[in-house]
Amino acid sequence: MPLYEGIGTEKLTVVMDLGAAFTKLGFSGEFAPRHIIRSEVTLKGSNLTREIYSYVNGDDLYDLLVEFLHMIFFKYVLLSPKDKPVIIVESLLCPTIFRETLAKVLFSHYEIYSLLIVPSHLVSLAPLAINTALVVDVGYLETTVIPICHGLPVLHAWQALPLASQAINNKLRKHLHSCNIKISEVKQNIIDDIKVRCCFVTPQRRAIQFLKSNSQLNYCPDLQYPLGGTKIINVPGKIRETVAEFLFEEDNDHQCLSTMVLDSILKVNVDLRVKLAENILLTGGTVMLTGFKARFKEELYKQLNSSRYEKLKLSKFMFHSAPSKDNYTAWLGGAIYGATEVLGMKSITREYYFKESRLPDWPNMKDNSRIQ
């Protein structure tokens, strides 16, 4: 670190959580991210806005990440990345190409000093000061469930389904198409906004009624969403109420959000099952949808009555609420880890990276002797 940065002052370490839709960024030891921005870049030549996760191959991703991190460092974080440590909060199920390219960009293009990658499910528990819980991350691309037992992620019990924000957005766009013309031209962030402001998850009793053909129930009031000052998007009450229903409807494999949680508990040792059921943590931006948590709980109890989960012998579920907004719980965990000495002890230094030219990863048998 250069001398002029000041020696006595506390070091600031950048903590980033690069999500598929939003990137949370801030500094270690702080209680909230400084910024939550969309994970997309506007390319200089073509003025085209591209999402980071829309990459076609590694080289494409490299260029996208160079652009995106440049924006992060010089517009938001305002730090020269050279010779600085960086903390990345990342899902254990992150694609290898993404994490390897990210490391390549950080080490060889931005020349950072060291990189600490923390698993998002594990660190989500740090703000709660507990070490055993079932972490349900409902993000943009997918929902992932990983039980954490005594501070260790139980990987063989992981569950993941593409039931998340992106699927809701697609459903919403499709449904709106029937009552609005030219909806396909509306930008993604408008759809996002309609979802956040107009839609909600209805309680279970109403959902059951809606499924019946002779239901007498009225949907919630229709809405008119103003667009660009002159246009209006009609959002019928039916769509507002039922757009997220599919998250709780079993698909052809009899899988949905609630079964994922119970399946995951089933795969864990008997002794830990009750403890996990009584420590459930919901994270990710999608769980902030109005009514989501209440419905999620109802669905868990409903599934418990089915014959599949009889042997679980669970009687109640208990939920944690993190001292943060749900969409940055994992980031907050990373910021807490970053404030400790873990950064110096566990991070991957530049020398190590260039010697190995790869990151240690749990599926790699060289790094993980526990895989048989």
């Binding site: 250069p2 209680f31 400084r34 010089f74 507990i130 109005t290 579920f317």
Partner: protein, 506 residues
């Protein structure tokens, strides 16, 4: 010039990293004599400033204020600047006839008319500072948790160190021989045990969070009552306040304005700056500006005949010399096949009689520096910058769709002279030009003729791209120690022209 701002970029130069960019987006490092671009230089934060009040923030202060200006605010509703408005209100005690009306201030957005009065922020008596700040409600608990984790990790570290220490001990101590330790002795005598001064107390464990059976209740009124979208914040508004993410507009609070940075760019190969702005936020000047536009001859397309596949046509290119030194331009093939290919052919030229001596203007703007010189002794190795990592240049992927008949002769470009505009004394400048090559010439500019042939297999509507290597003589005004003469180099730059589309036959 406007073409460089609005595009499309019809002439591109190949940067040393392999990217093609217009000349205005390139730097030219005078020390390693290579083109650099924003992608392959090392960016650094130079100084922080607030974009609204143009106040310079020292980096320590900016860090303390979380990279935000203390005085300026952004509108939480539309992200524009908030203005401070003054209003007069009645005196504190209206009975007193001598009391003067007071002035109070509030914040107003002139774009969306949001004001601090909308959300119930009390008007302030002073214009600057003193606006109420909000705290994170979980701050105390989170601080406690951070302390706990710090303690745990520190204890772990100490344990590890202790283990290492124990292994190293090879000597017999007194207690080993007698079997009695100091603390045992104290106990036997009946004195209280004093804790070891170096041994820290065990980290305090804050209580674990307790899970609850209840979750956020579903707001039943949502089912029957129509909602007013104007009262609900948009996703962007919520994310602008990541700490609170208010769902209703009455909880929006003004946001401190994020400061901006001035950046300097550094060449990765030689660690010299290629661009460095002046520190003052109000200044738009540079201390160092090694832009390629001021060093490399600029190529523009003058005109081109209609392009037809397989047919030879004429391309007129205009070259202009931005430097104070005369230069000679030679055309070379884009990718030389001979083994003589070297990206940089640094060969010192003997100044010949063609160049009048007055042309060599030695400008000693910078202290002489050598690529191989030792760093200053003031910089201790551990404190100085670590050398940059050079990324392997990527191959140029641009497909060439036309052949150029490269002229064998070269031509001279006169130095740039701002007064030449007003000089009417002929345009020939007594230069013997190859009339086949040079069509027109005036001061530091020349138009040359090239014959190009678009490839046979092109269809109507296909883009025609030609390219060649332009070799020009670059006079480096940074003088080396051993020779006071400015050094002259042959510098090669790959230039690509996007000529347009193939048209049909006549």
């Amino acid at each position: 010039m406007s073409n460089y701002i609005t595009g499309p970029d019809v002439v591109k130069y190949a940067c040393s990293c392999g990217l093609l960019k217009p000349i205005t987006r390139l730097y030219f490092c005078r020390h390693c004599l290579e083109l650099r671009c924003g992608f392959c230089v090392c960016h650094e934060v130079d100084s922080n400033y607030c974009g609204k009040c143009c106040e310079n923030l020292p980096s320590a202060e900016a860090r303390l204020k979380k990279n935000r200006c203390g005085d300026c605010y952004d509108c939480p509703s539309c992200k524009q600047n908030l203005s401070k408005r003054a209003a007069t209100v009645g005196p504190k005690n209206p009975e007193d006839p001598k009391a003067t009306p007071r002035k109070v201030y509030y914040l107003l957005c002139l774009n969306c008319r949001w004001s601090s009065r909308d959300v119930g922020i009390p008007d302030q008596a002073a214009a600057t500072g003193s606006w109420p700040e909000r705290e994170n409600v979980h701050a105390a608990r989170l601080q406690e948790i951070i302390e706990m984790y710090k303690g745990i990790v520190l204890a772990e570290k100490q344990q590890k160190m202790e283990k290492d220490k124990k292994k190293q001990r090879r000597f017999m101590t007194f207690t080993d021989r007698t079997g009695i330790t100091a603390s045992m002795l104290r106990k036997r005598i009946g004195l209280p045990d004093i804790p070891h001064p170096l041994l820290k107390p065990k980290p305090k464990e804050p209580e674990e969070a307790v899970a609850k059976e209840e979750v956020e209740e579903f707001p039943e009124e949502l089912l029957t009552k129509p909602i007013n979208l104007n009262e609900i914040t948009t996703l962007e508004q919520r994310l602008n306040l990541p700490e609170w993410q208010p769902t209703t507009v009455d909880k929006l609070f003004p946001i401190h304005k994020q400061v901006s940075v001035k950046r300097s760019q550094r060449c990765r190969a030689c660690e010299h700056n290629v661009s460095k702005p002046e520190y003052s936020p109000t200044s738009i000047k540079f201390k160092i500006q090694l832009f390629a536009f001021y060093h490399i001859p600029e190529v523009r397309i003058f005109t081109v005949e209609p392009l037809r596949a397989g047919k030879q046509c004429e391309l007129l290119l205009k070259f202009s010399n931005p430097t104070q030194h005369q230069t000679v331009i030679t055309f070379l093939p884009l990718f030389p096949s001979e083994d003589s290919f070297a990206s940089k052919e640094i060969k010192e030229l003997v100044p010949d009689e063609e160049v009048p001596s007055r042309e060599i203007v030695i400008e000693e703007k910078q202290p002489p520096s050598l690529p191989g010189s030792q760093p200053s002794s003031l910089l201790h190795t551990s404190l100085s910058r670590t050398p940059s990592i050079t990324v392997k240049p990527r191959p140029i992927k641009q497909a060439i769709t036309a052949n150029v008949e490269l002229p064998t002769s070269n031509f001279v470009l006169l130095p740039r002279d701002d007064a030449a505009e007003f000089d009417d004394s002929g345009d020939t400048h007594n230069i013997q030009d190859d009339t086949k090559l040079v069509v027109w010439r005036k001061s530091n500019k020349a138009v040359i003729r090239l014959n190009i042939t678009p490839l046979e297999n092109l269809n109507i509507g296909d883009e025609v791209v030609v390219g060649f290597t332009m070799q020009h003589i670059y006079v480096n005004t940074i003088t080396a120690v051993e020779s006071k003469e400015p050094q002259r180099y042959n510098n090669n730059v790959k230039v690509f022209q996007y000529l347009g589309k193939i048209v049909g036959s006549e």
